[in-house]
């Protein structure tokens, strides 16, 4: 008998002889925060991340520039921001080891926890979000959902090979409970409120002039 069959047979002979139905789950969103963006920002700050709200006169360019002005290497996974590494040509994630700032657009944000949802589709190379020293995430305020329950209703969890909630930078408190940011992954997480720009061309058209960044 294969181990698979042996384990399944052992389970079947030991199954509790009781009926336990699978419960239907509420969404727990009866009293959502009036202002999801504000709730998101507060939750993110508690997790060690920061929310950047661009000046109304600025479409986000100044904000981004402020973050990456002194960066030694910017790698962008979104066509909205120009980077210095062409992710399509990165065959080995180790090539991203020296990235200082990574930029990516999130599928959604979660007001309850200050999380942003990133997938392999958004990141192009998954390791980008962990090898970089700093992570900048673009988030459309209309993509913010109430809580983790509403986030799990999204299609990414069925469609993508990789989906991850980032709720702050890499952190540890393993030595006497002292909180340290930048344990193994990014040292900082900045989330920039930036509506999805319908006019941004896709990469195939390569119209760099409409991109933000260096």
């Amino acid at each position: 008998m294969s181990s698979r069959d042996a384990i399944l047979a052992s389970i079947r002979s030991n199954l509790p002889k009781i009926d336990r139905p699978l419960p239907a789950l509420p969404e727990f969103d009866d009293g959502p925060s009036a202002d999801l963006t504000e709730a998101f920002g507060k939750a993110l700050a508690r997790m060690g991340g920061r929310l950047l709200t661009p000046d109304p006169a600025d479409d986000g360019r100044a904000c981004i520039w402020g973050l990456i002005e002194h960066s030694w290497l910017v790698c962008s996974a979104t066509p909205e921001v120009a980077g210095e590494v062409d992710l399509a040509k990165v065959a080995d994630p180790r090539a991203l080891a020296d990235v200082d700032h990574a930029v990516v657009r999130a599928c959604c944000g979660v007001a309850e926890t200050g999380s942003v949802l990133l997938t392999d589709h958004d990141l192009k190379v998954n390791a980008l979000a962990y090898l970089a020293q700093h992570l900048i995430v673009l988030l459309d305020p209309t993509d913010i959902v109430v809580n983790i329950h509403s986030a799990y209703a999204r299609p990414e969890f069925r469609e993508r090979r990789y989906a991850v909630f980032h709720s702050g930078p890499s952190a540890t408190a393993d030595i006497e409970g002292v909180l340290i940011l930048g344990a193994q992954g990014v040292r900082s997480l900045s989330v920039l409120l930036a509506p999805r720009n319908a006019s941004v061309p896709d990469q195939a058209q390569g119209a760099h002039s409409t991109q933000w960044g260096p």
Partner: protein
Amino acid sequence: MSKQPQGGSPDSPKFEPQPRGARSRGDKPIDQAEAAERFLAAPRHQQQHDTRLWTLRQRRDDQMWAMPEWEEMRSLASAIKEHTLCHLDTYLETFEANAKANGVVVHWAKDAAEHNRIVLEVLQRRGARTLIKSKSMLTEECGLRADLAKAGVEVIETDLGERIQQLDDEDPSHVVVPAVHKLRSDVAKVFAATIGSDPDNDDPPYLAGAQRDATRPLILNAEAGMTGANFLVAETGAVVVCTNEGNADLCANVPDLHIVSAGIEKLVPRSEDLAIFVRMLSRSALGSPITQYTSHFRGPCRGGEMHVVLVDNGRSERLGMSEFWTSLKCIRCGACMNTCPVYRRSGGLSYGATYSGPIGLIIDPTFNARKYSNLPFASTLNGSCTNVCPVKINIHEQIYAWRKVLVSQHETPFVKRAAMKAAGALFARPAMYRAAIERTNDALASLPRFAIYNGLNAWGKNREMPHPPAETFHQWYARNRGAKP
């Protein structure tokens, strides 16, 4: 944060060596009390440990009070887990089919040895000799590192706490914070000897930075990566891993080979079920609303390979133990450990087992009833563990049930049996019991300290005895209600 060593360098008069864990000798019963006594004899370690874990418990309470649906969530979490365990065979088959369809190779391991053999075979087929790993209690349970080392595979733990423990050649003492029993001075000593950090600098940010710098090249050069699994989702074939450091994502996404080690009890039926557990896991563990990273792996990175090893190692048998099967609901948050007065004051290593604290007391005897026969007695049965458990395991009742099982199997020492026999005789004779209580109360109130706090009274060790009441309940009742006692 001062640059001055706060824990005291080995030369400083303040230095207190780290107490080590229980002595393990084959199948011989672990003497938890002996190891606990050595931990208590190191006051700086003991106090830091107690305070740190109680802080986590208080933060958990803050999160709980901020969530009106907390109790409903606990009931739902428990119901989902019980339902899944009652249909575990079909959910495992569903998971396997979906994972395979996503391009994942699924393996089944009956026990620790088979698990370690499968992992080694997968590594050898790819010629991989270096493995970066995120924290996994299952691989601790299986003794994976030792087996891989014998086969010439270098394993590098990437969670800071787990790395400290690996470099110190010591087991993790807690399921969430593996090095919580160590002071910064202990870490400075370990790092100075192993990764060449400054022995006189025990500033935690410095130590964490030194470890980051030392581990980064190992991550970049590793030929394979391994993670555990917090949850497996049957309907999507997803493996879910929660970390704060993002180290699981580095292990899974940097090398092109990702091996997942997962216990068969980690399943949940639907993606939406994750919301219940993800919302409760870190709130229960650390008092944070969520871990920094909650990662869902459904298939290999482009061009890579992903393997999942489903491990039984005694779990299917436990499923058939009517009093103990619900311990399989455990999501390893560690809340029961943080709240337990025995755990907080004796340290996780005193249990001499992979799983320590209240959950360990009810899991460890299923692995070896003789070796862990003393553990169910390392509890006050105060029930706090049960109250904080996010999946509603009746931990303290199971601890008590294990005592009965172990006593009936004679897996308890003679002194304990003799004491229990004497107590049994006393409890069976009400008049004798009342007389004894009156005498004890009088004695506690009038005896000098040396007569109460000595080696013969285990309850007086390292703590104050309760103040005896002026009269017994029976005396009070006789005086106030006038009935014959």
